[in-house]
């Protein structure tokens, strides 16, 4: 697949503050890249450089092969961009606003109306088209921003926190929209909601203090967790020792730890050796020995934990 977004050692400083130290990345057609990172990590600044809003202090960005600094107008024509908070001219109606954007995107007359109509249908804006944007709810405002970004069916779509502050239904709608469009576009979504990465992204990059600290699929990131694919069983306190010993004997089990739950029961977790799984082994063993457990599940590891682990480790590393 063609590489549509390319950043080469982008760097941006604001006075003494280094917002983006060095970021290089490539996004191909069909990819949805998640930008993860704590607030102030440099996600938005990176996006602003990719979209040509901010000029980088170093490095370069190419959109569809066009250098953003050299031919900004041509590069911007290839991008649909939803800035953080979905800013829009509040005194305009949604319809007038979308027409304005369509005209600046180069559409005229009927084509303009057709584009606005298509974007409206995709984002479910029909009912509020003639309301002033200032009077719309947060969810509809965000949809106006989305409609504006996808209006010209751009090959590259860059969205800064598209679901931030939306309710679960609205989040679902936005994610569905992203997934629907993913096939023939290169999409970058920034977020600090990690479930979003699992829901829509084919790949994720974790940014911390202006640098990329992790790059991979959601699954890759989760494999970094020590308890990824561990099998957890909940048992009575008096049987815990026996089962713990039995678990330790199962093939590929690296270690077993125990945790006392508030109701007095014990949670045992059997962590696998790296790159292996233990679920079926544990199940067979429990069956053979007829050991009763209340509950048994495979721990997937939470992206939240990965996130904390990666970004806080970085912090410690730097301060040391």
């Amino acid at each position: 697949m063609a590489v549509l977004v390319e950043a080469d050692r982008l760097r941006k400083t604001f006075g003494p503050i280094i917002a983006v130290e060095e970021i290089s990345l490539k996004v191909s057609q069909g990819e949805v890249l998640g930008f993860l990172g704590p607030n102030g990590a440099g996600k938005s600044t990176t996006m602003k450089m990719l979209t040509g809003f901010l000029a980088p202090d170093g490095g370069s960005a190419r959109i569809c092969g066009i250098d953003v600094a050299e031919r900004p107008k041509a590069a911007k024509a290839c991008i649909g961009y939803l800035p953080e908070g979905a800013p829009a001219y509040g005194e305009m109606t949604a319809r007038a606003f979308l027409h304005f954007i369509a005209e600046l995107r180069g559409y005229q007359g009927d084509a303009c109306g057709a584009r606005v109509h298509a974007a409206t249908m995709r984002t479910g804006l029909e009912e509020v088209l003639d309301q002033k944007i200032d009077t719309l709810s947060k969810g509809f405002k965000r949809r106006v921003g989305l409609a504006q970004a996808i209006l010209h069916d751009p090959p590259v779509l860059i969205m800064d926190e598209p679901t931030d502050g939306l309710d679960p239904n609205q989040k679902h709608l936005v994610r569905k929209l992203i997934t629907d469009m993913a096939k023939d576009k290169a999409i970058i979504v920034s977020t600090h909601i990690l479930e979003e990465v699992e829901a829509v992204c084919t790949r994720a990059i974790v940014i911390d203090r202006g640098r990329i600290v992790a790059d991979g699929t959601a699954e890759d990131l989760m494999q970094r967790m020590p308890y990824h694919n561990a099998v957890a069983v909940r048992v009575d306190a008096n049987k815990a020792d026996a089962i713990s010993a039995a678990l330790a004997g199962v093939a590929n089990v690296d270690k077993v730890d125990r945790k006392t739950l508030p109701d007095g029961q014990i949670l045992l977790r059997a962590a696998p050796k790296p790159g292996t799984t233990v679920a079926s082994g544990v199940a067979t063993m429990l069956n053979q020995k007829s050991l009763a457990v209340y509950e048994m599940y495979v721990e997937r590891g939470k992206l939240d934990d990965v996130f904390r682990q990666i970004t806080s480790q970085e912090g410690r590393g730097r301060n040391a």
């Binding site: 604001f14 602003k48 809003f53 911007k76 800035p83 800013p87 305009m92 007038a96 600046l104």
Partner: protein
């Protein structure tokens, strides 16, 4: 060109999308008339001209043009729409010119609404309509120069009140630059040619020329270059301070 038109159209409709436009138009027409009749003694002069009317335009603009200009960029910054606008496939020049021309056209509308003054003076006597036309052109050009200053200052801040006060002050200094108020600040140390140059920046002197019916090249050139200079500064500010 097309983009300038699209941006200008939106900007102009934005004025009319809020009460600001109507308040401005009413106050401009009412004050320009009131100044002419009560302070300029339009009737008592018993002259068939609009000197009493145009003489106060400078002072009216000083208050009202920065009010028109203050939102041009400050509001874009405040609401974040500047990020939307500047990532559309347009150039910074197109955005600046579109906005500036829309605001200028808006002031043009306000000027057109004072046409009853012109009708009145024609009804009462036989004025030199050529001089009146020249005065209108001069007044419009002067408004453009004030506006360019206001637009430039507006790009410096998110705060419209600050934009208004700073722009009004700067405009005031330009208006007064032929007077001792400004010149005394330079006479002590600056070479004579610089003091002369500053004195020649006075808006009032150039406007006086035009409103006497003399549309001289120096005055036209003066206003055109004021507009060009401040819009150019405006562009540099917008380009370099997008994120601030």
């Amino acid at each position: 060109m097309r983009n300038i038109w699209i941006i200008g159209k939106r900007e102009l409709s934005a004025y009319f999308g809020t009460p600001l436009a109507y308040i401005f138009l009413v106050i401009f027409v009412a004050l320009s008339g009131a100044f002419a009749f009560y302070i300029g003694n339009f009737f008592e002069r018993a002259q068939a001209d609009l000197q009493a009317f145009f003489a106060y335009h400078t002072w009216l603009y000083l208050l009202l043009v920065p009010a028109v200009a203050m939102r041009l960029w400050a509001e874009e910054r405040k609401t974040g729409t500047i990020e939307l606008l500047m990532t559309l496939p347009i150039t910074t020049w197109e955005a600046i010119l579109g906005k500036f021309l829309a605001a200028w056209a808006f002031i043009g509308v306000a000027l057109l609404l004072t046409i009853p003054m012109w009708i009145t003076v024609n009804y009462l006597g036989r004025p030199d309509n050529g001089v009146i036309l020249a005065s209108y052109i001069g007044s419009f050009l002067m408004a453009g120069a004030f506006l360019a200053i206001g637009s430039c200052i507006s790009a410096l801040t998110k705060n419209q009140v600050i934009a208004f006060i700073v722009a009004a002050t700067l405009c005031f200094l330009f208006v007064m630059s032929g007077s001792d108020l400004v010149l005394n600040a330079f006479r002590g140390w600056a070479p004579a040619f610089l003091v002369q140059a500053i004195a020649s920046l006075s808006f009032i002197n150039h406007f006086d020329q035009i409103s006497k019916g003399v549309i001289g090249l120096p005055s036209l050139f003066f206003y055109a270059s004021m507009i060009a200079f401040f819009l150019f500064a405006n562009m540099i500010i917008v380009e370099s301070r997008k994120s601030a």
